[in-house]
């Protein structure tokens, strides 16, 4: 290990031509080398492929749901099929896509690189969590294949306890996926604590790492509760032990407490990584350090902790005590403060920046706008008397899609566009990327803004059929879903074209000061050719050289080209 610290960004991408260096994609070949790899980058890519497959499945389900709702009455399927389809949409999107998306794929790939580490702390455990994820996912798919699960992704008792036995398969799948989530969390926490490069103190930690770190803490603390709940549910079904089913002496509201005690923190498992990515995007594409760095970092930790105290706001109409309702409403409003702090600091970062509207930045700006709508509509739902009217209507559906899709999915897509050149070594067609963004952004808003109005007017959620007065808004929403679908299709073609015939990416195509851009493209199997030493923060653009920023090339790369 060398300790070179003569230049500010002390990276050593290339001694001569970066082409000559091994990269993680090509230094070993064959299916076996992927299946048994301990390289966090390859594991990250395998996660990426899996979650994209899950997203595709969940997306097809969403389009089926919206197609059924085009017209009143039966359009393409029966009520019980519809119920299974929206259950699959929710379960796949939540458990197989959103929760593992950013931590599993982008986190695995970039967390060690951004720390200047060779790998995660426990590489074998990392591969293990990936296989556990696959195993859990297969369990879910088998649960789907053998029986029809139609409980919704929340598995509320007593309906879930009465329905067909395949609920056990589905819940076992989620139980197993939970272990994958816990192990990844433990791995990341250990990595952040022990594997930081020399010179990287906590104040130099990229905000992406802060966000993933906060997420990992929630994963480790909250996921066991999910496992306990699903174990109790399974024991009740298999052994007849009364826990949740009132027919044999259980309490169905207890299940809701258990379920949301996990699932509300899980909302932060989903959104914090999205926010984490947006920090990197805003920093890079405005070439400024994130305003109020420490406030933004601590707001992630605050959200992680507050997330444990507000589960009861899913249950304001459930028959829970009025005093619990009061406490949960008050605590829920506290969540608005760290969320607001983040948004205000992002906007302040743009001030006096040098802003580029490259496709990843479009996703970041889209995130801010959509997350703001998701956030302010949360005020309606935290306000008790208003929530009573809006609870379990389309307003709630629209609210959480604005946070989960407008937030997390936009963060994920922004990160995917941003890091695509580093991961694959290929550039993509920027124009088509912008067209896809415009379609996704427009389609998303048409789909879900109309659902806010539907909800306010009293349209309950999870309805197979609806009253004639809701027809126009449902039609609009479905139309938006098709635009959204076309947007994703354009994006998929754009990325596939990039893989086949994309222009070769330079080491730092965006001109970022982030640490992950200091290594070669695609990265060296050990991430860095030599141990990097950190001498500046990840957003210290004023310490970067002119060439790095304005040509968007790393100095060594530029030097080798000039030969």
């Amino acid at each position: 290990m060398t300790t070179e610290a003569t230049t500010a960004p002390s990276a050593h991408g290339a001694d001569a031509h970066s082409d000559d260096l091994p990269n993680y994609l090509t230094h070993e070949r064959g299916i076996r080398s992927w299946m048994t790899t301990l390289d966090h980058k390859r594991i990250g890519l395998m996660y990426l492929a899996s979650i994209i497959a899950a997203f595709f499945m969940g997306g097809v389900m969403a389009l089926l749901v919206r197609t059924e709702l085009l017209f009143e009455g039966r359009t393409i399927m029966n009520a019980d099929t519809y119920n299974q389809v929206f259950t699959l949409h929710g379960a796949i999107m939540v458990f197989l896509f959103i929760i593992p998306s950013i931590p599993g794929a982008l986190g695995n790939f970039f967390l060690p690189i951004m720390l200047g580490a060779k790998d995660v702390a426990f590489p074998k455990l990392n591969l293990g969590s990936f296989y556990i994820y696959c195993f859990g996912a297969i369990f879910l798919v088998v649960g789907i294949a053998v029986g029809h699960v139609d409980t919704g992704w929340t598995f509320y008792t007593p309906y879930s306890a009465r329905a067909d036995n395949s609920v056990i398969w589905m819940t076992m799948g989620v139980f197993i996926l939970g272990f994958s989530s816990i192990l990844t969390g433990v791995n990341f926490i250990a990595t952040v604590h022990t594997m930081r490069a020399p010179g990287m103190n906590w104040r130099r930690l990229p905000l992406f790492i802060w966000g993933i770190y906060a997420t990992s803490v929630i994963q480790v603390l909250a996921t066991p509760v999910l496992a306990i709940t699903l174990l109790l549910l399974t024991m009740e079904k298999a052994l007849g032990i009364a826990v949740f089913d009132p027919a044999i002496g259980g309490d169905p509201v207890l299940f809701q407490h258990f379920f949301w005690f996990y699932s509300h923190p899980a909302v932060y498992i989903m959104i914090l990584p999205g926010m984490a990515v947006v920090n990197e995007l805003i920093g890079t594409f405005s070439r400024r350090k994130i305003f109020g760095y420490m406030f933004v970092a601590m707001s992630s930790v605050a959200l992680a902790l507050l997330g444990f105290l507000v589960w009861g706001h899913h249950m304001f109409t459930s028959g829970m005590s009025e005093y619990s309702t009061m406490v949960f409403s008050a605590l829920t409003f506290l969540v608005a403060i760290p969320s607001g702090v983040k948004v205000f600091n992002w906007v302040a970062t743009l001030y006096q920046g040098s802003i580029s509207l490259a496709s990843p930045m479009l996703y970041a700006l889209g995130f801010i706008a959509l997350f703001t709508i998701g956030g302010v509509t949360g005020l309606f739902l935290g306000t008790l008397s208003v929530d009573i009217h809006l609870h379990d209507t389309y307003f709630v559906v629209a609210h959480f899609h604005y946070v989960m899709v407008g937030g997390t999915v936009f963060g994920f897509l922004g990160g995917l566009h941003y890091w695509w050149p580093k991961m694959t070594g290929k550039m993509y067609d920027e124009n088509w990327a912008r067209v896809a963004w415009l379609l996704v952004f427009t389609g998303f808003n048409v789909t879900f803004f109309s659902q806010f109005v539907l909800g306010s007017q009293g349209m309950p959620r999870r309805y197979y059929d609806y009253l004639p007065r809701f027809h126009n808004l449902h039609m609009t929403s479905s139309g938006g879903a098709y635009i959204l679908g076309v947007g994703f299709l354009v994006m998929a073609v754009m990325f596939i074209k990039s893989l086949r015939s994309g222009e070769k990416a330079s080491e730092n195509p965006w001109g970022s000061a982030g640490y992950e851009w200091l290594t070669t493209t695609p990265p060296h199997p050990h991430n860095f050719h030599e141990q990097p030493v950190i001498t500046r923060g990840p957003y210290d653009y004023h310490l970067c050289t002119e060439l790095e920023l304005f040509e968007g090339h790393h100095k060594d790369f530029v030097a080798s080209e000039a030969e």
Binding site: A79, I355, F380, S385
Partner: protein
């Protein structure tokens, strides 16, 4: 005359509705202003500070005053919202003394209402008096349901194994042609394993668990309740008023969701055509003549005897008043003679 719906919310028809709506619109305007300020500033900065050749970004400074200001400032708004929301919630949670009492039972996929103190029943339709507090005591016979009337801005889950309550005071009577709708707002499943044709005809799922709600004067309410335990006026002139009432009840209570009167075999439940007086054979090998006792016991204990050809009686328990039981029996009896 029903009041008009506003652009975003359903018509205001209860004493609670104006309170909820004024808070709703307050948050709405706060939201619009916040959104315009945040996104407007963002767009303004993006245009003003777009990347120009030779112009560098200014290094980020610190401004702890600004940070503390935008951390603390929202607290005032949030405290106000919490307080106002809690006030409205308490108003909706605590019924005034001596309300009119109605018991509600939710079951897949019908609403049953029992007017107190008379015990008069109606299903999938409810009539309440105007300008009078009404308190509902609710429970579920099977899974979770939720009682939701958008025009009243009330919603409360209906939970098996416990009672939940809800109250409202309607402020307008409804037009005869335009009753309000009671929705089930908590997911409660659907009948599985039916064909596309049956699915269109049957409508037995969460989204069909609707009931109509009429608000009338007190006099009209009293008359309505008094008539509930006997054949309605339209049936009195019929040859068999009880059978006519029974036919209406069978539709209201949801019996026709699974049973048919056409004589078609198969389906989810045995047909009622030709049922009366026939010899029933059951899965346990026993047989019995379909008389009034058999029909009433099947209604109240559907699981006790399962007709050959069916695997399970996936039917909720019905326990209507004595007169209503007799009306159903009369209806089934009338189907025996018509068919032969």
């Amino acid at each position: 005359m029903n009041p008009q719906a506003s652009e975003q919310l359903p018509p205001q028809m209860s004493t609670l509705a104006p309170q909820v709506d004024s808070l709703y619109y307050f948050i709405y305007y706060i939201s619009v202003i916040s959104f315009v300020l945040i996104v407007g500033t963002m767009v303004f900065y993006v245009i003003k500070y777009r990347r120009k050749p030779g112009v560098k970004a200014q290094p980020t400074g610190h401004n702890n005053v600004l940070e503390v200001a935008w951390t603390v400032a929202p607290v005032f708004l949030l405290v106000y919202l919490f307080h106002a929301g809690w006030q409205g919630y308490v108003f909706g949670a605590v019924a005034p003394s001596n309300p009119l009492e109605i018991h509600v039972t939710g079951k897949q996929w019908t609403w049953d209402f029992t007017h107190m103190p008379s015990g008069a029943q109606e299903s999938n339709a409810l009539t309440v008096p105007v300008n009078e507090p009404v308190r509902l005591t609710m429970s579920s016979a099977d899974v979770l349901h939720s009682f939701f009337v958008p025009a009243f801005r009330v919603k409360r889950d209906v939970v098996p194994g416990m009672f939940t309550t809800l109250w409202f005071e309607a402020t307008h009577t409804t037009d005869e042609a335009e009753p309000l709708t009671i929705f089930c707002a908590e997911y409660c499943g659907a009948t599985a394993g039916i064909s596309a044709e049956q699915s269109v005809a049957l409508n037995t799922n969460h989204s069909s668990m609707l009931a109509s709600l009429r608000v009338t004067t007190r006099e009209a309410y009293d008359t309505h309740v008094a008539q509930l335990d006997g054949p309605p006026e339209a049936c009195v002139a019929e040859a068999d008023p009880m059978a006519c009432w029974g036919e209406r009840l069978a539709t209201e209570m949801g019996c026709m969701g699974c049973h048919n009167t056409t004589g078609a075999a198969g389906g989810i439940a045995p047909t009622w055509r030709g049922l009366w007086g026939s010899n029933r054979s059951f899965t346990d090998g026993s047989t019995r003549e379909a008389d009034a006792n058999y029909i009433i016991s099947s209604m109240m204990e559907p699981q006790s005897q399962i007709v050959t050809g069916f695997t399970t009686a996936n039917m909720p328990v019905y326990a209507p008043t004595e007169n209503r039981k007799l009306a159903i029996v009369a209806f089934i009896r009338s189907l025996a003679t018509e068919g032969q």
